[in-house]
Subunit: 142 residues, 2 copies
Amino acid sequence: MNAPIVSPALTKNQALVFDALNRAEGPMSAYTILDKLRDHGFRAPLQVYRALDKLTEFGMVHRLESLNAFVACAHREHECCGGAQGHGHGTVAFAICESCNQVMEFHDHKVDHQLGDWAKSKGFKPSKTTIEIRGLCEKCAA
Amino acid sequence: MNAPIVSPALTKNQALVFDALNRAEGPMSAYTILDKLRDHGFRAPLQVYRALDKLTEFGMVHRLESLNAFVACAHREHECCGGAQGHGHGTVAFAICESCNQVMEFHDHKVDHQLGDWAKSKGFKPSKTTIEIRGLCEKCAA
DNA sequence: TTAGAGATGTAATGTTATTACATCAATTGC
DNA sequence: GCAATTGATGTAATAACATTACATCTCTAA
């Protein structure tokens, strides 16, 4: 089984981690996830990191590099352009509110293309692109 | 003294850290910098982090979020659009070769605008934007 | 039924970043 | 001059994030 387009069957640990992230309504660090899952038998960081690796590979979870934290993917399945990253989209971008910690996930074709064009012009072969906007969301900026 | 447009006078520690990054021809972690500067009297991480904070604030150094590492800014002074981030540019983007660790710093008006437009449409007020493309540079992809 | 692959559990360690507290030097206002 | 403030520095300790190493275990395909 490789690079499934639809959600694959998850292992127990993967399902627990994914569920925790879905309930969270915001990004969580690996160690926060670990704490949430202690009641379910989790005892070591590696259990979380292994599950996160897989979920990320499946495109079901994203890592926020500027936060060292993780969020469940907010895209609906089959939405918009199928990309190299499985699950149904190309590069995703994030707007992260530094006040309320809310994260907006979005996709922007033009940005995607523009960066792709730059890469092509330089002979650079992208494997993963990170776009994160830190700032204040509408509510918090008011 | 606040938010200088030209390079401010650096303190001894700031100058040492900046110099180390300039010589490096590639990103360095804070602890790598620390090791390089032990001969110059550095003994603790905080000495490095404090200098990096200031240099970043001055726009002379960038943090690569996906690497937890730092690079000296590759822009010439006075080049292109003066932005909110001092030093003479708006958002910068990075292409990071995962094979040879070379980093290309660039600026793309269209991407900048496009993300700005998205933010405006959502009422989001950006403070800092991260754009990092991981992949293989032309040489390493060949 | 056994060899391989993948998932799991656990401990230990490595790497990155911050908090807390003390000191020192330059500047400002009196 | 000389407090008072501000900013830079030094040091130790700790917190936060992530990986390596090794031992099982379970399923499945030959």
